[in-house]
């Protein structure tokens, strides 16, 4: 058994202290992400057990500027690239998948503000709030629609002097109780087509939430994605400028898929780490003899590396095309973004399952230092949150028009 870290660091960076398996770049956020991950790890088991929001980690993300990380430099922020956000999401995902998903979902919405929001007062005020650490939740799916975020029943109703009203029966709104705003999709007007959507910023003081269901799930329990009826009376300057078709294609969908996949990579890496600990313990008991689990561990690291590389490449592809709508709105790009989500969500279950088998009974155990039970349960959330079959169904039409990006 040759530890890759020893072989890999032979030629370069003799004083490099980057740990094996950690994300290699994003240095300016790495230390802060590690601090937040430490907080998240402390509470991860309790958050999972009690299906309660990871409040301590959300507080730490706010405190260390991770929720504000992507605000452009021109607006006073740090202008984190998607590649940098992806690295943070993976670091958090290793510690607590619920925390990492909150981070991922927040950024999928928040980036729409400055990329699509325009200069309305309500929008720019929200950007400033994000810069100050506000947490953004979202309500895209709707009862009676069947999980399709690109159609709505609810509609924006304009009353006098720019006041607007909307009411949405949402099957899930993740971490709604913790958020400083919920971004809600709705039809542009009561007579608009289901796909003619806008994105509305709903602040807590303008919004009534009535809980309709409880999030008691196999995994990702800490996202607290309860069902809610959301009713908001707000102002039309809190409606983002672009239509949601544009917002989704250019930002929400590609950013979300990269960040979710980054979280899952973190889950996989966390499980792989536990497998490595277990094999190292076996190796210590008979130094000089490579334990049988080491071969499986090496095999697992092949899978993990290819997953991590796929995610990083997708993040870099977004960053390269971030200001180029013709690329982001192309069929090939949409297929690639969906491919990442489908691939990563399948791989994470494979990798965590392999890790559990490598660890053995202590991995199968529901708790303990090398248990991968939480990782396995969280990993299964990946394929069902935005169903892979729905994405494939969308892809099926697109596949007639375009191939893969090679």
């Amino acid at each position: 058994m040759t530890a890759p870290v020893l072989a890999g660091s032979t030629e370069t960076h003799p004083t490099d202290t980057t740990a094996a398996g950690t994300t290699a770049s994003a240095d300016r956020f790495a230390a802060r992400a590690a601090l937040v991950a430490e907080v998240a790890a402390q509470h991860a088991d309790e958050v999972d057990r009690d299906a309660r929001p990871p409040r301590e980690a959300i507080g730490a993300m706010r405190e260390h500027g991770l929720l504000a990380a992507a605000v452009p430099v021109a607006l006073g922020g740090e202008g984190a690239t998607l590649t940098e956000l992806a690295a943070i999401a993976t670091t958090l995902g290793r510690a607590c998948a619920a925390t990492a998903m909150v981070f991922a979902m927040h950024h999928g919405q928040a980036m729409a503000l400055w990329r699509h929001g325009g200069v309305g007062l309500g929008v720019t005020a929200m950007t400033e709030a994000v810069l100050a650490g506000a947490l953004v939740a979202s309500s895209t799916t709707e009862k009676g629609i069947g999980g399709d975020a690109r159609r709505s029943t609810c509609a924006i109703e304009v009353s006098s002097s720019g006041r607007i009203h909307l009411r949405k029966d949402a099957p899930v709104i993740s971490y709604a109780t913790e958020a400083d705003a919920v971004f809600v999709t709705a039809r542009r007007s009561p007579d608009a087509a289901p796909s003619d959507q806008r994105l509305v910023i709903c602040l807590p003081e303008d919004t009534t939430l009535t809980q309709t269901s409880t999030w008691d799930t196999l995994g990702l329990r800490g996202t607290c994605s309860n069902g809610w009826v959301l009713e908001a009376v707000t102002h039309e300057d809190r409606v983002l400028r672009d239509d949601y078709a544009t917002i989704s294609a250019r930002t929400v969908l590609p950013v979300s898929h990269v960040l979710w996949a980054s979280v899952w990579t973190g889950i996989a890496a966390g499980a792989a780490e536990r497998a490595r600990q277990a094999v190292r313990k076996q190796a210590r008991a008979a130094v000089g003899t490579t334990p049988p689990g080491a071969l499986r561990l090496a095999e697992l690291l092949v899978d993990l590396q290819s997953l991590a590389d796929a995610v990083r490449h997708a993040a870099e592809r977004f960053d390269a095309a971030a200001e180029d709508p013709s690329v982001l709105e192309s069929t090939a790009y949409a297929l690639a973004a969906n491919a990442l989500k489908i691939n990563a969500s399948e791989r994470v279950v494979d990798i965590v399952t392999k890790a559990m088998r490598i660890v053995g009974i202590a991995g199968f155990a529901a708790s303990g230092p090398t248990s991968v039970a939480r990782h396995l349960r969280d990993a299964h959330g990946a394929a069902v949150m935005v169903s892979n079959d729905r994405l494939l169904q969308n892809d099926a039409a697109l596949a007639l028009m375009s191939g893969a990006i090679l």
Partner: protein
């Protein structure tokens, strides 16, 4: 019961070796050095004396086992294992 004269050298809870003793013992057993590990100067370049990265893994495991410690990922790079002195320092820090 028959007393094994080598028993005193074996690691036990009663006689925990010093970090440097554990390092030298691990190098002797698993380092595949071209010289006697007990006589190597503490600042001599072990890679020049035949240590390979593959052997380093076994040296690390043996030290961990002997001292009941675990080297953190952050110290697992080539320079840590370059000399007896640096390995010893890392092992002591890991304790």
């Amino acid at each position: 019961m028959h007393q094994d004269p080598t028993a005193a050298a074996a690691p036990s809870a009663l006689a925990v070796p010093t970090a440097e003793e554990a390092v030298r013992r691990a190098l002797a057993a698993h380092g595949r050095l071209t010289v006697d590990a007990s006589a190597v100067a503490s600042i001599a370049d072990l890679y020049a004396l035949g240590l390979t990265s593959h052997a380093t893994v076994n040296v690390m495991l043996a030290i961990e086992n002997d001292l009941d410690v675990e080297f953190p990922d952050a110290v697992l790079h080539r320079s840590t294992f370059a000399t007896i002195e640096s390995i010893t320092a890392a092992a002591e820090a890991a304790e």
